[in-house]
Structures are given as C-alpha cells and as structure tokens.
C-alpha cells in the first residue's frame, strides 16, 4: 500500500549541507499495532535552513506531528535519516536525545504546558538553569511582552499570556530550532495573533529557526515556506517571497 512517491523539499536556492539546521532523507515512519500497520510518513525529504520560519500545513493524520516529533528528538523514524548539523539523530540513545532536546530544541505546545506550581519567571528559569548560555528569564519575558506579569502563576494568566510565557521558556535557552505544535490552536483570534507576532519577532530578532504546525492556512502567509502534508507525503512546498506581518492576518 505504500505509495513510493518521493517528495522533494530541498531548498534549492541555499546550498551546502553545513548551512542547514536539519536534513531529512527518505524518512518513513510506520506504527505497528497488532498486525495493523499505520503509515505516518511515507518517505519525506526536507532541508531546514538556519533562521527559516516554516509552517507545516495539512489535515489530521497527514504526518505533520510525526515529522515535528522527529525534529525534536521525541520519536525515531522507521527508516531514513534525520540529520541535525551533520549528526544523525536516528542513531542517538535516549540519554543523548534528552541532551539534544535540552541543548538545541525549544518546544511550544498547543496547551502551553506550563508548570502550574511555578511563576512565569520560574517557568522560564526552569529551562535557563539547565541551558548553556541562556537569555536571562526576565529578558526572555520582556521579549514576549510579559515582563509585567513575571511573578504571576499560570492560573493567574490568560491562555494567550500563558502561551507567550511558554514561548519565552522555549527561546530562553537560545535553541537552534523552535518547534511549535499548534501554538494558537487553543486561543481566540486576538490572543492567537499576539502570540504569532511574538513568534515572528523572536524569529527575526534572535534568528531562531522556527517550525510551526497549524491547521490554519492563513498563518502560512507569515512563513518563509509552507510545507503541505497529505497522507504521509510532502505534497507541496510554497515559498513566500514576502512574509506577511502577523498583525495583518485574520481568520
């Protein structure tokens, strides 16, 4: 049943493997559950460039989350290569993957996942304490416009505010890549746009490569490239010559 149609998603314009943050080659993922095989990825090739803002679009079950998990070292492909700066993530053990996440990856989740028992600053500090050359927690909060609420607990913040703290937490360690799984999925339009503004701002000011999953096609307008997924394949790559400002988006 496997459709063997390789999708080419290299960024042709920029060259040299060393430039790329991630290089994925023929990545396949199959989940086996009691004799039933579910193909999540059916051979994906993708290069992710430094400082790039990528949006992954596609219906449920198309493979976006699986791909994001591979980039974040949360999952391993069944076959294929996932290279991060020349290092093959597929060969790393659990401890090394933890190390990789700690040093190189920032995560932003749909439901923020702040630690409820820690204040905004402390949630950020949780990460900066284990990072190499982090941004000071308060500076990170300033970056997302949350400095005035630095000492609030998650329960005292709105959803959008919690998500901005989560972004501050993710970027404070100066990650190579910021991985966001539907960061606006649980937010109203206004809060969502505010969060997207922050993300675009961080991407621009810190140059953090950002990969974001969304169901919302409109958001693709603010990306450098939009990767369209369907049925485990990359079916289209849309390159935006001009990124739209987040505040100009509406849905």
């Amino acid at each position: 049943m496997e459709a063997d149609r390789p999708a080419t998603a290299q960024a042709g314009e920029k060259t040299g493997l060393g430039d790329r943050v991630f290089v994925l080659r023929d990545v396949r993922k199959v989940y086996r559950r009691e004799d039933v095989e579910v193909w999540a990825l059916r051979g994906v090739d993708l290069d992710v460039l430094p400082g790039e803002f990528l949006v992954l679009l596609g219906p449920s079950g198309s493979g976006k989350s699986t791909l994001l998990n591979m980039l974040g070292g949360l999952d391993r492909p069944t076959s294929g290569q996932v290279l991060h700066l020349d290092r093959d993530l597929t060969t790393l053990d659990d401890a090394a993957l933890t190390r990789f996440r700690r040093d190189h990856v920032g995560f932003v989740f749909q439901f923020y996942n702040l630690i409820p028992s820690l204040t905004a600053t402390e949630n950020v500090a949780l990460i900066t304490e284990i990072a190499h050359a982090p941004i000071a927690p308060r500076d990170a909060l300033e970056l997302v416009g949350m400095l005035d609420r630095a000492d609030h607990f998650p329960s005292q913040l709105s959803g959008g505010e919690q998500q901005r703290v989560a972004i501050a937490r993710a970027v404070a360690k100066r990650p190579d890549v910021l991985l966001c799984d539907e960061p606006t999925g649980a937010l109203d339009v206004e809060s969502g746009i505010r969060v997207l503004e922050v993300m675009a701002d961080v991407n621009r000011r810190l140059g953090t490569t950002t990969v974001m999953i969304t169901h919302n096609a409109v958001i693709g307008g603010m990306a450098d490239r939009v990767i369209h997924f369907s049925n485990g394949h990359v079916v289209d790559i849309e390159v935006n010559s001009q990124r739209i400002e987040a505040r100009q988006l509406s849905w």
Binding site: T66, D75, R101, N113, P116, L118
Partner: protein, 790 residues
C-alpha cells in the same frame, strides 16, 4: 442494555489496566480483614471450646485444699445445701527424677478417693488405657508433660514420695479440664518440662503419704442456682478443723483463670490491632480510590458527553470498588481463617484442649465486608461526584492550571535557599495541603501499625527482665514440704554452688475490702533481702512497710483499695487468724496478684517463730548439676524452680503464641505500609504525568524529573515518620490497656530497635515504591501524553 455492555467492557479494561494498583489496595484491605478474622475466629473458637470442654467433662465449680480429713467428711460435704456432687482426692506435689534431666521437676500426683464421684473433672484419654484397679505403679500423665519430656506409653519415671523412690509406669496420656493450662502455683510462667500432672490409684498414693481413708483436696459441682458464696462458707466451716485453706471458685482456679485471661488477652493482641488495621486500611482505600478516580477525569467526562447519566457512571465506579472490596475481603477471610488454624495449633501447645477446632464465623466476615465496603464506597462516591458535576466539555479539557502561590518560606524571603524542584515540591504540597496531609497520615499509619505489630516482644522482654532479674534475683527457688525452722537454711548454705540463701515464708490468704475479695499468696519479706526485692510504683525497692501491707497495683485496683485503706487479711491455714492491715505500699508487677508484708508481721500473725516455707538461692551456674542432684535427694524439698529452665520453657511455649501473633501482625503491617507508600507514589505520578512529561520533552533527564516526584514522596515520608512513631505509641498504649488482666499485664515499652525496624520498613517500602514509580516514569509515553490533536 447495549450501553451496560459497553460499561462492562470499560470495567474489565479498567481492572486490567490498573491491576497493579487495585491489587495493592486489595492487599491492604485483605490485611485488615485477615487480622480481624484471624483474631475473632481464634478467640471465639477458644471461648466456645473452653465452654464445651467444661460442660462435657464436667469441670468442677468449687475447689478446696486441706491438710488431711477422713473420707467420712465427704458425706457432710455432700449434704451442704447447693452441692450437687463432691469429689474427694489426694493431691501431692513431689519431686520427680527424670532420666537425662538435671533440672528438678515436680510431679503433681492425684488420686481419686474410692467411691467418690469420678464424673467430675473427667479425664480425656488421649493414648493408652486407664490404670488397672489392682495394679501398682501404673499412672496417667498429662499430655503437656508427656510431650515436653517426650514420654511414651510404657516409659517409667520416678517420683520421690515421702523420701521413697516410687516407680511410675506410664499407661496412658490424658487431658484434664482442671489443667488446660498447666502451671504450678507461684511459678509465674508455665514449665511443662519440669511440672507434670500424674494420676494414679488411690491406695498406692494414700499408702505413700500415710493418708489411707483420708483425702486432702476436693472439688464440688453446684446445683443449678446455688449460691457459691454460701457453699464456700459452709465448706470452709466443715474443713476448718482439718487444715482447710478455704474453698475457692473457678475464678481463682489457676488453669481456668489463665485460660480465660488468655482469651481476654487475645482481645488486645487480636482485637485492638485488627480494628486499628481495618480502620487504617479502610482509610487508605478511601484515600487511594478517591485520588484514583480523580485521575480518571477525562474518561468520566467522555462517558458523560456520550449521554451516560451520573448515576450510571457512579454505578460503574461502584462496581470497580466492589470488585476491590470483594477480592480484598475474600482473600483476607481465607488468609485469616488459615492463620487462625496455624495460631490454634500453637495455642493448643500451651492450652490443652481435646480439640481446638477453628469455626468459620460468617458474622465476622460480613462485618469486615460491611466496614470495608462502606469505607471504599464513601471514598469513591466523593471522587465520582466531583467529576460528574463538571460540564463534560470542561472536564474533557485538560485540567486548568491549578492555582499556586508562594509558600510561607518564600514569602519570608527564603526562596533562594530552595532549588527550583524543591520549590515545586513545596508549592505542590501547599497547593493540596489536604491531599498531602492524607498521604502523610497514610504513611504515618503504616509506621504506626508496624510499631503496634511488633512492640509486644519488647514488652515481654521487659517483663522477663523486670520479674526475673530486677525483682526476683535468685536463680533457684525452693519450696519445702512443710514449714521449716530457720536453721534449715544453714544446711542449704552448705550445698554445692550456693552463694547466697534467704528464707521465704508464704501463706495463702483471703484479702477482703468491703464486699470485694481475692485469694492470694501472702509473702513475708525478709529484712534486708537481697534476692527478692519487689519494687514500688516508682521502681524503688519497698522500704519500710510499717507493719502494713503491700499490694500489686492490679490487686489494689480489683479490690478498689488505696494507700491508707485497711483490709481484712484472713490466713487460710493453721488457726486461720484474721487481721486488719493497712495498705502502706503498692507494688509494680506484671504477673498475678501479689501481697507482701514484712516477715516479722507474718510470723506474728501466724503466731510462729522465724520459720520459712521455702528458700531463695543464688547458685553458681556452673554448680547447678550437683546442686540439683542434692535437691532430688532431699525429701523435704517439695519443689525447686531453676530460673534458666523456667525461662527457656516459657520462651518455648507461651511466648511463642505472642510471638506468632506478632509475626502475623508485622507481616500485615508491612503489607499495609507498603501499600500506602506505593499508592501514594503511584497516584502522584498519575496526577502529574502531564507536567512531568512536559519537563522530559523540554530536555530534563529522567533523573531530574524523578527528583521532583520522588522528592515529594521523600519529604512526605520524612514528615510522616515521627508522626507515625507517636501514633504507634498511642496504638500500643490502647493495646496495653486491653491486655491488662489479673494474671498478666504488660508495660508500654517500645525499644529503639522496634522503632528502627518500623522506620526501616517504611523507608524500604518507600525506596522500592520509588524504584517502581521511577521505572514507570522512565517508560512515560511522552507523545501519548502531550499529543496535540493531529
């Protein structure tokens, strides 16, 4: 119907999925039920067996001893109003000469007068046959003695009767309702190996002691409704001229009192702990279930969203709870019943019944079932109600972040003293203080039941130390056949190995305070006694009694006598004088009811010189063998008690019963303790899975994440331990209170070793639980937990 089947499926899946935890809860429950069933079954079986035995073998109701009376007196006794039957007999304690045993042994020779009523105190023939009427030297021996000395039918032993060696051939092994508990008066602890009861033909025993046509002991069965007190008065009047020492009822009969007290004592080793155990396990199950169901929030919300009613969902969890209750109670009942059988086998070695059958008591199991079911349902009800009340849409969303605030220590500006994980732990505890309190209480209860289950050994050790080393410092006690002049001691001092020798004078008395009375042995204390030093309630040796009376604290309690009160003291031998004595001291002791006066006072009361009825000796331990040889060769010595032999025998018999109960209790306590700690850790994990998974994804290592969860457990355990030790002391105090009987008391003594063992068990349980939870933490499915809807 369709939806019911769906819920059935969920039920089965839930049970399978949570089997580890449900099993842990059931195990805790089973322990509570098992202790209850064990003890109540054992107690009610002992109670019933004793009553049946007494009825079936016609255990007498009154007893009396005298010096020597003609058998004709039996007719007068039988005519006393209220008397149904009289049994006349000769009862003589004599030294035994047993091959291969150097320690002196005492045989109680019993012979029934011819034509007396033989249907009282009937013997149970266990092996062999009765002695032939005309044969000489044929005897029956008590089963306890035969077992301890490994005597078989056909074996012979020798008794020293009135200075003559009598050969006694064993033809049968018997039990007697008079000697269910076989102990010599004044011994303190039973010693089956060195005290045996022997039945033989009247003619032979009468001849040996020059008692032909006479008797020196009697037993009486009363007519229904007869007044025991009136009959006792009449018997006393009739026997006074024959050296009667006063009739007494079953309550003062040694074996009956000990057996009855043992059943009473079971109530403390066996009722108080189980009730506490059951209460603790019910509490734990309540706690665990309510938290367990709390973690099922999303499933409950989903069911509700599908249109299940709150009642149906409640019913679903009720069935889950009932499964736990049924599994726990059934397992507990079966285990308890089996252990009751094991315990009964042990009890039978000390309390000799014809057959101790453990009855199954459905009543007990039903009680346990009811208690546990109520506790569990209450625990589940609360949790289910909380979740069912939520609108489904809200419940299906992950819980909103809980409100947290800085803890007090942080408000005080001490925040920088704590690491981030430590702050998370502290705030978590502060956020859910009630939950933390319950968890803490659970672990503390685990510690407490450990103490409760094991302190009895400390108490026994203390009592042995106190009674046999601090108070009675002699290692040999001799009783003379009759009262001897003080010069007799000079001879004893020349015996091999004797380092010190003091006289002792004991006489049976009846102490009366208003309408309350007890028959006890009154001991005259030698002035400046070094070997026997009863201690007062402040643990000081009794000093000047000022010609007054010293009573066991317990004796004073049963007579309701206080310091300064005056008691009537009726001597039950000789001229039977009655004197009024003032209570001038109270004695702290743990065995029997005892009364003391200065020797001088006793001699004056008895109108005698400084004579003695026995002697206390300190004998060089290396010289015990030649010393015992000497005892055996001395007819005037009725009995000799060697401390080391007595204690060894005690540890092999009665102490074993308590130890066995202790082992059971400790076993259950460990399981309960383990169950609590494990569940506490496990539920913490379930409740905080999402948070911990987030941290893992953010790059925290397993160890770092575990630190937060397990740090909380460690902190709770640390706080719980001292609380648990204090609660354990409280439980032990309740137990001690319930153990307080006339024949035995135990002190509230908890050794550091017992505390250390309890702490070690809990710490061990915590460590193993932590390890298990840590493994589950390692296997945490990060993606499952954090999965955003793709």
């Amino acid at each position: 119907m369709v939806c019911m089947r769906a819920l059935d499926r969920i039920l089965v899946r839930d049970v399978l999925r949570m089997q580890g935890q449900l099993l842990a809860v059931s195990a805790v429950l089973a322990c509570g039920v098992a202790t209850l069933v064990l003890s109540l079954s054992l107690m009610s079986s002992l109670d019933r067996t004793q009553a049946d035995y007494y009825r079936q073998y016609r255990f007498a109701q009154l007893f009396a001893r005298l010096r020597r009376a003609p058998l004709d007196l039996g007719d007068s006794l039988a005519k006393v109003p209220g008397v149904a039957q009289v049994q006349l007999r000769i009862v003589m304690d004599v030294p035994l000469d047993l091959p291969g045993d150097t320690a002196p042994s005492v045989g109680r020779l019993i012979a029934l007068a011819p034509e007396t009523d033989t249907h009282l105190n009937e013997l149970v023939l266990r092996q062999g046959r009765l002695p032939s009427a005309d044969a000489t030297g044929e005897v029956l021996v008590s089963e306890a003695f035969a077992a301890a000395q490994n005597l078989q039918i056909g074996d012979s032993i020798h008794a020293i009767a009135n200075g003559r060696r009598m050969k006694l051939a064993i033809v049968g092994v018997v039990l007697s309702p008079e000697y269910i508990f076989q102990m010599r008066e004044g011994a303190g602890v039973p010693d089956d190996k060195h005290f045996g009861v022997i039945w033989m033909n009247y003619g032979e025993l009468a001849a040996a002691f020059d008692l032909q046509g006479a008797f020196n002991d009697l037993a009486v069965m009363l007519q229904p409704g007869a007044s025991a007190a009136d009959v006792i008065d009449e018997i006393d009047r009739l026997t006074a001229a024959y050296g009667g020492t006063g009739a007494y009822d079953r309550q003062s009969q040694l074996s009956n009192r000990h057996t009855t007290d043992a059943i009473l004592q079971l109530r403390s080793v066996a009722i108080v702990p189980p009730i506490i155990f059951l209460a603790v396990s019910a509490f734990l199950v309540h706690m665990v279930l309510s938290r367990l169901i709390g973690t099922q929030r999303e499933q409950i919300a989903a069911l509700k969203a599908f249109g299940y009613t709150g009642r149906e969902i409640g019913g679903h969890y009720l069935r889950l709870v009932l499964i736990i209750v049924l599994v726990g109670t059934t397992a507990g009942a079966v285990i308890g019943q089996c252990l009751a059988g094991v315990a009964a086998t042990n009890y039978e070695k000390v309390y000799r019944f014809p057959s101790l059958v453990i009855h199954f008591e459905p009543r007990i199991v039903l009680t346990a079932l009811l208690v546990t079911a109520c506790a569990c349902i209450a625990g589940a009800f609360d949790a289910v109600r909380r979740v069912v009340r939520l609108p489904p849409a809200e419940a299906m969303r992950p819980e909103a972040p809980a409100s947290f605030r800085p803890t007090l220590v942080e408000s005080l500006g001490l925040a920088h003293w704590f690491s981030q994980p430590m702050r998370m732990i502290l705030r978590q505890l502060k956020r859910h203080p009630f939950k933390a309190l319950l968890a803490c209480l659970g672990i503390a209860l685990g510690t407490a039941v450990m103490i409760l289950g094991s302190f009895i050994q400390d108490a026994i050790d203390y009592v042995v130390q106190y009674e046999f080393y601090q108070t009675r410092r002699q290692n040999v006690t001799l009783n003379f056949v009759d009262v001897r002049p003080p010069q007799a001691l000079n001879e004893l001092r020349r015996w091999p190995g004797v380092l010190r020798c003091e006289p002792v004078r004991t006489t049976p008395v009846r102490l009366q305070m208003e309408n309350r009375w007890r028959r006890v042995a009154l001991t005259g204390l030698a002035p400046r006694s070094d070997l026997f030093r009863p201690l007062d309630e402040h643990l000081q040796p009794l000093s000047n009694l000022r010609q007054g009376l010293a009573l066991s604290i317990k004796l004073a309690e049963v007579l309701d006598a206080r310091l300064g009160d005056t008691l009537a003291v009726e001597v039950l031998e000789g001229m039977r004088p009655v004197r009024n004595l003032m209570v001038t001291a109270l004695v702290k002791d743990y065995s029997g009811l005892n009364a003391y006066v200065e020797a001088e006072t006793l001699h004056r009361m008895l109108d005698e010189g400084a004579c003695c009825s026995g002697a206390l000796l300190s004998v060089d331990a290396t010289q015990l063998t030649p010393f015992c040889e000497k005892v055996k060769a001395t007819p005037r010595v009725a009995s000799a008690t060697i401390r080391s032999a007595l204690l060894r025998s005690f540890h092999e018999s009665e102490a074993k019963n308590l130890t066995l109960m202790r082992v059971f209790n400790m076993m259950f306590a460990s399981i309960i303790a383990f169950g609590v700690v494990y569940n506490t850790a496990h539920i913490s994990l379930a409740e905080r899975k999402r948070e911990l998974a987030t941290m893992r994804v953010l790059g925290f290592s397993r160890g770092e994440v575990a630190q937060i969860l397990l740090g909380e457990l460690a902190l709770l355990t640390l706080v719980a331990l001292p609380i648990g030790l204090a609660m354990g002391r409280g439980f032990a105090a309740i137990s001690v209170w319930a153990l307080n009987t006339e024949s035995q008391r135990i002190p509230l003594v908890i050794s550091p070793a017992t505390c250390a063992a309890a702490v070690a068990t809990i710490v061990f349980a915590a460590a193993v639980s932590a390890l298990v939870v840590r493994r589950q933490l390692d296997r945490l499915e990060l993606l499952e937990i954090l999965k955003a809807r793709d």
